[in-house]
Subunit: 129 residues, 2 copies
DNA sequence: TGTAATTGTTAGCTCAAGCTAAATTATAAT
DNA sequence: ATTATAATTTAGCTTGAGCTAACAATTACA
């Protein structure tokens, strides 16, 4: 379970989200979603493929492996948890909460996420994942 | 007020702390504190000097400018606020709280810091800066 | 005061992650 | 079926931030 960079986590997360939204995931979709060039996507996808986190055939479509899916889901879970906390507990405006969550999701430890989850759970209107 | 990188914020913060601890701040001290090579420190210090955040003469000692001091103090304040929250509100173990604060301090917006401060202030044992 | 040890700097390498321009492959339309 | 458009990939550049090795300057002490 080698650690991957914040940047690669972003690619993984976005691929997961695009997949959830239904269609086949292509390089162009990811580039558009992350506002990054297609060659940048191409290289990141290659790195993630080498890491065994996704499958990608030449000029083909992109799909997460089970391992990649697990990782992506973890990042997205952290994102939602943090955003919820910022917005509903601290009262940070939605847009700022979203932006901060995008950055914080890559740096908060598993331990802290667990404590944050427990904290949110024991509040009046408990957090639903 | 151009933004600086997380890495440069770390240098700034460490210089601030070393200065608070009394002695003159030298390249070697920073390198030891941040566990980084002296050439790395040298270059970062050059960048911060160009940004007007510190003064440094050839083979001389390092001192923050007023602007650099302000910036460093802001980073350190964020660090302490986040660490306090993680440790005392969420109950994250001290060591993990410290590590997480080290990374989070560079990515949390000013808005969120303000909201976090307000949140901590209105708790039973209010937060003291 | 002259030499040894320490400190600081320079030169130059590596890696990650972005980019553009150009080439290749696939898809769609006439 | 041929051609035009779109998607993907390759090649190669840039920047930031780390590193080591080698060189220069300073400090300390014998």
């Amino acid at each position: 379970m080698a650690d991957i960079s914040a940047s690669l986590e972003d690619y993984l997360e976005e691929i997961f989200i695009l997949h959830q939204e239904g269609a086949q995931v292509r390089v162009t979709d990811i580039a558009a979603a992350l506002k990054v060039s297609k060659p940048s996507v191409n290289r990141a996808v290659g790195t993630l493929k080498d890491a065994g986190l996704l499958d990608h055939e030449f000029y083909g479509t992109i799909a997460l492996t089970p391992e990649g899916e697990t990782r992506a889901a973890q990042v997205l879970r952290r994102h939602k948890l943090i955003r919820h906390f910022l917005q509903n507990t601290l009262g940070v405006p939605a847009e700022i909460a979203e932006e901060d969550a995008c950055r914080m999701e890559h740096v908060v430890s598993a331990q802290t996420i667990q404590h944050l989850y427990d904290y949110l759970s024991q509040q009046e209107d408990g957090y639903e994942e």
